[in-house]
Amino acid sequence: MADYGLVLAAFTAPIEIGTTPSSMLWMFPLLAAIALVYKATKMRVLFTKKYLLESLLLFLSVSGFLIMAIIVLNLLSWLVTS
């Protein structure tokens, strides 16, 4: 019973996340979830292997695009401030 209390207590206070560049890593689980749900609703027939492969491809392409956007924006801010 005390274990359930501890689990519930974990939801009453936020965890520690600093305002550091590494906090951007929190976007990857979100992207994975979006890719999995999108492909689950979009694919006409769900075959496990094909579904996982297509979800992975979508996840990688969206992640790649976002990483590119981060690099471009950083370069722009470096050019403007230097």
Binding site: P14, G18, A33, L46
Partner: protein
Amino acid sequence: MAETNTNNRLSLDKGLWLIIVGLAAWMIPGAGHFLIRERKRGIILFSVTTALFVTGLFVGSMGVVDWVTGRIWFYAQILYSPAVGLIGNITKHGGYPVYGRPCDVGQIYTCIAGMLNLLCILSAVYMAYCGRGEMIGHEEEQDNG
């Protein structure tokens, strides 16, 4: 005359069926797909959206669901399930700390979970409307066999 009555009855039944599927998909994420025999799809959607929502609550605390000060966020969050309203009722007095980056991450995760469930609701209703659940199940059986 009798044929028109039968057609009306059929369209009424179908409309009711679509409403039931939509409501089930809202009450329990993935349940709409489960009703139309898309069990694998339903289990995936339930697991992923629930994991996302629970992670959001864990990261930002229950305080991220707040219909008093964060009403716009709440509209997206309640798309996940009506149960979110119960959480909002618990947190409305503001007894749960929520601040900084964990608040951002928690709010984004819970809102995206809600909006993904909206996608699931629309997908389930559309599949029920097309009668695709049975067709896909049949195709899948043939392909596996």
